[in-house]
């Protein structure tokens, strides 16, 4: 057991918010490198492939940003709920149902002017995601059922519900696979190819689309909501000290529900990227784990939009670079990168305080020496 007590007020912000996460990340990558080595491949080559795959050519970089978009949504979703001290691990299910919202709005209102369809579809995604989060929120606030349990159950329920819908209700009946018909092409969100054409770059295909800007806007939205509005203030108050919130006349019930609904809504926006932007139809299992990885993104980003952006980008790099590696190195499977993600979660989340005291006290002593000298 370490007995190091660090005077927190002396730790510069960049040590606790930049250096410590970087150290944890490096450790996770080192251990991952070891795995790669054991699997019989050269870790240095793997790193080169990751970097080339995610930055080396324009299409690869576009893929990286496309993944980043999804992680921003699910990372923000987790962070918002967490500021009310709610552990929303139901991002996966909320994103799934959010996708249903996008599709239903877009397909039924496709006769409207295109930008209006987009806006309504975004709204639909948010609303459906929020509605799916509302039920666990209600159960938490009124009945005390813990959201960790209920949200994870709601992931399974969402999955079953969507399978049912995709098989029996909204399946494209011209074929047998569990997915819907495609949306009319007119209302697809413009993808990066279209823009790159204007810039004179020619690429074959990229999933990156206008939703990326929506993700950036969401970062601002969350920052503004949590720190600049009375709602954010009340959510944080309930999260930090429920007793005090009651004393000040702030309703814990109301704020638990608001925080969870905004959280679920943000997760739902993932559907905009996937359905309006990329596949243009609902496919079974499209959230593909983004909801869970969002937890790691938020933890790594310390639940702040400024941290979530680079964390989401990092996971984007891993996803894109990782698929490049699995393609080039036969001994490395897709699951290896699930393990790498797991290691990052382990080091930046669960073992976050493993080295924090040592690093912080090192810098505190170091800086003091400079001051005293």
């Amino acid at each position: 057991m370490s007995n190091i007590v660090v005077d927190k007020s002396k730790v510069p912000w960049w040590v606790s918010n930049v250096i410590v996460p970087l150290v944890n990340l490096t450790l996770a990558l080192l251990v991952s490198g070891l795995f790669v080595f054991i699997a019989g491949e050269n870790p240095i080559e793997a790193v080169k492939l990751i970097i080339f795959g995610s930055f080396g050519y324009i299409q690869g970089f576009a893929y990286t940003l496309y993944y980043t978009t999804n992680f921003i949504f699910t990372g923000l979703a987790f962070a918002v709920a967490f500021h009310c001290r709610l552990f929303n691990i139901g991002g996966e299910g909320q994103a799934y149902i959010g996708g249903l919202g996008v599709f239903l709005v877009a397909i039924n209102l496709s006769f409207l002017p295109v930008p209006i369809v987009w806006l309504l579809a975004i709204f639909g995604a948010f609303l459906f995601g929020a509605a799916w989060a509302y039920i666990p929120a209600y159960l938490q606030s009124k009945r005390g059922s813990h959201v960790v349990i209920t949200t994870i159950m709601f992931n399974f329920i969402a999955s079953s519900l969507m399978i049912y819908l995709l098989v029996d209700v909204i399946r494209d009946t011209n074929q047998m696979a569990p997915h819907t018909v495609k949306l009319p092409e007119a209302i697809w969100l413009p993808s990066f190819e279209a823009f790159s054409g204007i810039l004179g770059i020619k690429i074959r295909y990229s999933p990156l689309n206008l939703t990326f800007l929506l993700a950036i806007a969401s970062l601002f939205f969350v920052w503004f909501l949590v720190w600049k509005t009375k709602w954010g203030y009340e959510m944080r108050a309930v999260g930090h000290n429920t007793q005090a919130a009651i004393y000040a006349g702030i309703s814990p019930h109301k704020n638990i529900i608001i925080a969870m609904c905004i959280s679920g809504g943000l997760a739902g926006l993932l559907g905009v990227n996937e359905i309006l932007g990329v596949s243009h139809k609902i496919q079974a299992g499209f959230p593909a784990g983004y909801g869970f990885t969002g937890i790691a993104v938020a933890l790594m980003g310390r639940n702040h939009p400024i941290g979530i952006l680079p964390a989401a980008f990092l996971f984007g790099i891993l996803y894109q670079g990782g698929s490049e590696v699995t393609f080039e190195m036969p001994n490395i499977t897709r699951y290896m990168f699930v393990a790498v993600q797991g290691l990052i979660i382990l080091f930046s989340g669960a073992l976050e305080n493993l080295f924090r005291p040592q690093i912080e006290s090192f810098f505190v002593r170091r800086l003091n020496r400079e001051v005293n000298a």
Binding site: N3, D7, S9, K10, K230, Y233, Y247, A248, G249
Partner: protein
């Protein structure tokens, strides 16, 4: 000349911009009870945490028995014979006394012979100092006074020669305080050295042989206790002369503005804690509620301030019903009607200690102009306001962006007070306004309450400090077992009279 057992020279310690200890020199002689007194935030606890190895000083040396030592952690201090009893006890609730004492000290004593040996040693210690503790009792069954004894015993068992006690009497009843003092005197007789950190002058005069005074991070004086008196010490603590008694004008009673009829309230465990209480408060008067903690004052205040549901009866403000068994207005609505509440437990209820000071200064008023407009917080207004009130209420340090838990108890209380008094409430409910607050701040807080009264507010003051009730109240009611057992005008009431009522015997 006795040689000092503990000698500190030129100790410096800063937290961020706050210089908590400035060039502290201190000598503590063997076999004495040495008092360290100072306002909250004066740096006493910081200094002792350095001695106990919890913090490391930025500079300065610590000598024990003339030998310079380097204390990197509490373990080093324990090895060097220093023990500390914290304000908040560090005990495992569902372990026995014995288990708590040997916990972490000797890994192998949990079973067998060594355990028996430890038990015998402890029993001997208990006898020597008359501790009267059952070593096999579970901590959760013990009262606060006994838990404190376990802490002391733990330190002694680990070989403490110097025992540091941080505000030991804050949580004790008067009888428990007497018992504690007996134990401390016995320890002194046996040659142990005791360092007593406190802000209560009576304890210093009662117990210590030497006293050191701290003010704003500096050591402002050392003296033998017999050469000084309470007034002089108080003056040294706050740096000016202090009125230990409150000056207050003749009462100008107005009409009744707050009325409670036949109120009953249940607690969270569904036990009726307030039984059929009726009271009224007039404009311009302070109604004091005296009583031993846990006789329903907490639940009464919570019901009156809209936090807790009323079981039966009703509450009226300006003749308008605000609460009965069917519905109650929530605290924010009550605030808008001019009812403010300074809660008993400032850290559990009055503040969000993880928030910055300016966020706490608007807590509960955050959705009103000018702090927020159409739900968006106006940071410029909030900062401007925070700077203003923190100056006005002398909150130290005057930094609105500091996290609230970094302020001392007294300054935290001032943050709450400034927030609740600023709107000029018509009715003010106050619980334990000066618990854990230093003398300088007590005087300030009392004066603010008197000012509110003179401006015509109706004030309900619940306090376990009889002194406070007697010096502030115009009228006193005594609560026992949830009922009002006595009501007196505050003229020629004696502490004895109230004490008997509080004990439920009169």
């Amino acid at each position: 000349m006795v040689s000092p057992i503990l000698e500190l020279s030129n100790i410096n310690k800063s937290f961020g911009h706050v210089h908590a200890n400035k060039n502290i020199n201190l000598q503590i002689n063997k076999g004495t009870i040495h008092g360290i007194i100072g306002e909250n935030g004066a740096g006493k606890s910081t200094l002792m945490s350095i001695v106990f190895g919890l913090y490391q000083a930025n500079s300065g040396t610590i000598k024990i028995n003339g030998k310079e030592i380097n204390l990197k952690s509490p373990r080093d201090s324990i090895i060097n014979g220093i023990g500390m009893v914290h304000q908040h006890f560090m005990l495992v609730e569902n372990f026995t006394v014995l288990e708590n004492i040997i916990l972490g000290f000797e890994g192998e004593t949990v079973f067998g012979e060594k355990l028996q040996k430890a038990k015998q040693d402890l029993e001997k210690l208990c006898q020597t100092y008359n501790f009267n503790i059952d070593l096999d009792a579970t901590i959760s069954d013990l009262s606060v006074g006994f838990r404190q004894r376990v802490e002391i015993l733990k330190s002694l068992y680990r070989g403490a020669e110097i025992l540091i006690l941080d505000e030991p009497t804050g949580v004790l009843t008067p009888q428990e305080v007497d018992e504690l003092f007996k134990i401390l005197r016995a320890l002194k007789e046996e040659g142990k050295t005791i360092v007593l950190i406190t802000h209560k002058l009576i304890e210093i005069m009662d117990l210590t042989s030497e006293v050191s005074v701290m003010r704003q991070g500096e050591m402002v004086g050392h003296t033998k206790t017999e050469d000084t008196n309470k007034e002089q010490l108080a003056e040294m603590m706050v740096g000016r002369s202090v009125l230990l008694r409150v000056d207050k004008k003749e009462i100008k009673k107005g009409e009744t503005i707050f009325q409670v009829n036949n109120l009953s309230v249940k607690d969270d465990l569904d036990v009726t804690r307030v039984k059929d209480v009726s009271l009224e408060i007039r404009s311009g008067e302070i109604l004091g509620i005296a009583g031993v903690t846990g006789n329903g004052q907490t639940e009464l205040l919570e019901a009156l301030s809209g936090i807790r549901k009323v079981e039966s009866g009703k509450i009226e403000l300006f003749g308008e019903k605000i609460s009965d068994q069917d519905n109650f207005l929530n605290p924010r609505m009550l605030k808008q009607k001019g009812l403010a509440h300074v809660p008993e437990d400032r850290q559990r209820m009055g503040l969000i200690t993880d928030f910055k000071a300016h966020e706490n200064l608007i807590f509960g008023y955050h959705d009103q102009e000018p702090f927020s407009k159409s739900s968006i917080l106006n940071n410029r207004e909030i900062t401007e306001y925070s700077n203003k009130v923190m100056q006005e209420y002398d909150v130290r340090p005057n930094s609105p962006n500091l996290i609230t838990s970094n302020f001392s108890g007294g300054n935290q209380q001032k943050i709450i007070l400034s927030r609740e008094l600023n709107e000029n409430p018509k009715v003010l409910l106050v619980g334990q306004p000066t618990r854990g607050v230093d003398i300088g701040a007590i005087e300030f807080i009392h004066q603010r309450l008197i000012d509110m009264r003179d401006r015509g507010a109706a004030i309900l003051l619940a306090s376990v400090e009889l002194d406070e009730i007697l010096s502030l109240s115009d009228r006193i009611i005594v609560m026992f077992d949830g009922k009002i057992v006595g009501e007196k005008e505050n003229k020629n009431v004696t502490e004895r009279e109230l004490g008997l009522l509080m004990a439920g015997v009169a």
